[in-house]
Symmetry: C2
Subunit: 143 residues, 2 copies
């Protein structure tokens, strides 16, 4: 029975929060997105093709805007890479995102780098950096 | 006299290595670039518009290729943001890069996220993630 009860490694915990981030993206539910971030004035997000946004309040507002204009979002992640250094960690991955708005839908590949910080045993996102993979015209993608 | 001798803060040290990274870029000198990275098989780089590269040997090779095909590189950085958590740190900034090859020159803005790790008191880069700022056609930019 021992093996079934072993604690998760740091890497598994971080990858779990990374998955929860993309599930929140698919949910279009701001509360789910709130749950995976630390709410600090120094956290940052680079949505694909946007200007960098600094601070949780502004980041939350950007999710409200994105979720409001989105009908459906589906994310397929392949090969996440995770590295942990003390109470900081990062995950790189290249999700394929299918984004449906009232105007139609588009698919984009994004190179993502997410940074996580652990506090009181809980990992949360503090930085999301999304680079559009060229090959598709930038103008067709989200925003 | 005390103030003149105060130790640098962690943030200042990290910003110093971040500057050294961009100076290495301008130098077109692989040895300068080697000096700012940890040489591990898990370090990663996303050059603007490239596939993610994993491992120092492959990253070094990419710099050799880029520096060989480059006549001149100039980088203007504005407003770097730095955050330190223990022995990990990251810097986000948006350099304007002017890149001259034998075919001509182009200017691109890049949203950069660099991650640093400290070992034995020394900070070095372990991840460079570069997102092209849309507005210019991706095809005009490096590679």
């Amino acid at each position: 029975m021992g093996a079934a009860y072993r604690l998760k490694t740091d890497e598994e915990e971080v990858l779990g929060v990374n998955r929860a981030f993309f599930q929140a993206l698919e949910s279009l539910d701001v509360e789910q997105m709130e749950a995976v971030w630390w709410h600090e004035d120094w956290v940052q997000i680079l949505h694909p093709g946007w200007e960098l946004i600094v601070g949780w309040d502004e980041i939350r507002e950007s999710w409200v805007d994105i979720f409001r204009s989105t009908v459906r979002m589906r994310v397929a992640i392949s090969h996440p890479f995770v590295h942990v250094v003390g109470d900081a960690a990062w995950v790189s991955c290249r999700p394929e995102i299918t984004y449906t708005s009232k105007e139609g839908f588009t698919t984009a590949a994004i190179d993502v780098l997410n940074i996580f910080v652990r506090r009181n045993g809980a990992w949360r996102i503090v930085h999301h950096h999304a680079a559009l993979v060229p090959a598709q015209p930038v103008s067709e993608v989200v925003q």
